[in-house]
């Protein structure tokens, strides 16, 4: 069964058509990368999936349920988590506290004025496991705002993972990173996909990362879906080469 089905989605801002009649299906366990030149509508497309704003037309189905009209937090509650191109974290809290908030919300405790010991222990376990997964277990006491860029990104991914999502949306996970950090984040995403079997949709500019990770690549250009296919099919696609890869690579 598909985790995500996007059917003929269009988004207009006044006269500008940012996303034009795009359809995309993501199967369970798949890693799908969205690429395209600047201004191709990638981030708008992501915002449509995560519920930042509703599409002008078209529909979005998540786990077999129509979510087109649902708000952001409702989509998150159904199991959709995302990270941002510019890392969105709680800078003045430490790593542990950042992830704990996510774990408590996911555990259904967000309105609770108290939490008992057993529940608290469960939350602590979830947080520790998640931090181990992203290799931040030695930095739990550090303020997130004071971490290196790559670690901040890992913390943001940990918060998304603590929500136990069925779908992980990563908006340019390696943006602004050096080679070493890019390598670490790429390995992390690869582990999440291969070992933990997460379903992932990501936007990425770094073609090494994309071709290393993706099961399938979608190319957006001027708001349209130019091509979809395996990394090999995309690399061989002449239209794509002309529009994008030729100039970038």
């Amino acid at each position: 069964m598909n985790v995500l089905d996007i059917n003929n989605v269009t988004k207009r801002f006044g006269n500008l058509v940012a996303v034009r009649d795009v359809s995309l299906s993501v199967a369970k366990g798949e890693l799908c990368a969205i690429i395209g030149p600047n201004g191709a509508g990638k981030t708008t497309f992501f915002n449509l999936i995560s519920g930042f704003f509703p599409p002008t037309s078209g529909s979005i189905t998540f786990d077999g349920r129509d979510i087109t009209k649902l708000s952001t937090h409702q989509r998150v509650t159904l199991g959709m988590a995302r990270t941002f191109q510019i890392t969105e974290i709680f800078p003045e809290l430490n790593v542990f506290e950042n992830v704990r908030i996510a774990a408590e919300v996911a555990g259904g405790y967000r309105l609770r004025p108290w939490i008992n010991r057993a529940e608290q222990a469960q939350i602590h376990r979830t947080v520790e496991e998640t931090l181990k997964l992203v290799s931040l277990e030695t930095k739990t006491d550090r303020l997130v705002g004071e971490l290196a860029h790559g670690d901040q990104r890992a913390a943001e991914i940990a918060m998304a993972l603590a929500l136990k999502p069925h779908l992980l949306l990563l908006d340019e996970p390696t943006a602004g990173m050096g080679d070493q950090e890019t390598y670490q984040i790429t390995q992390l995403i690869r582990r999440l996909h291969r070992d933990s079997n997460y379903t992932i949709v990501l936007i990425e500019h770094d073609m090494r990362v994309v071709f290393h990770l993706a099961d399938r690549i979608c190319v957006l250009d001027q708001g349209r879906m130019l091509a979809q296919g395996t990394p090999k099919e995309i690399a061989d696609n002449e239209t794509v080469q002309a529009a994008y890869l030729g100039t970038a690579a």
């Binding site: 937090h73 509650t77 709680f90 800078p91 908030i101």
Partner: protein, 317 residues
Amino acid sequence: MSAEQIRKLIVLAAIWAALLLAPYWMIPLGGYTALATRVLVLGLAAMSVNFLLGFTGVLSFGHAAYFGLGAYGAGLTLKFLAPSTPLALVAGMLLGGICGALLGTLIVRRRGVYFAMVTIAFGQVFYYIAFQWSSLTGGDDGLRGFSRQPLDFGLFKIDILSSANNFYYFVLFCFALVVAAMAFILRSPFGRTMIAIRENERRARFLGIPVERHIWIAFTLSCFFMGFAGALYALVNNFADPRGLHYSQSGDFVMMAVMGGMRSFWGPLLGAAVFVVLQDYLSSITVNWMSFVGLLFVLVVLFFPRGLLGFIQRSKA
């Protein structure tokens, strides 16, 4: 226990010891017990404002309305309903809290400057009602003709009207209850979502927190606390003043919170103490006392952006 926890415990014990012994150390220093009572009540109000400002990250400039509603609720109860101090406190808290809950549904849709503007606007509505409805509220003269009643425990009564010390300890007891409730909420999962919203609203939303609903709850809780503080204030003065609802009073509360340190739990109490003591001392010397308090406020904001308590904590660390 870690060194950090021990240090916190010592600070906490010191704060409570200072509060418990205030009637004894204030008088040799040239103060008087009623001044300490005012510090507690206005400190509680500033802490209620800060529950929202410092821990949820939204600035209300109309919180005096709920403070004033609490005062009128308590005063009207004592004057017309029943001569019971506890009932007056509950009535004041409910009046402030329920009005806050209802208006909050409209207010929380706005953010930043607009949020502050809407809170001022609603606050002023209550000010004008209290000002104009003379037959009930006493209008410009304020509500008079009531006084706090002895606490009746059946077997014995405690006089809180003529004994300043008894009244101080009664107010301290009420203060402790509300402060404990605040601390309890802030340490809970719900309290942590408030801090999440303060730190990064977008991230909070994308963790699945319905941000508006949580801000509404925080706003409503802080209005209940505020109403309670206002009810205590009516008991302090045996009088309810329409100026207690005015936005300039809201400004004073924000000033206390910011001056004391809005990121710290106890900061607003320190801010209120500085504000009230300076007011008491300077207003006997000059009518322009506010100029001096204002100057101090500007200096604190410029040089100690985390407030007086934030500065003390930083210089110790």
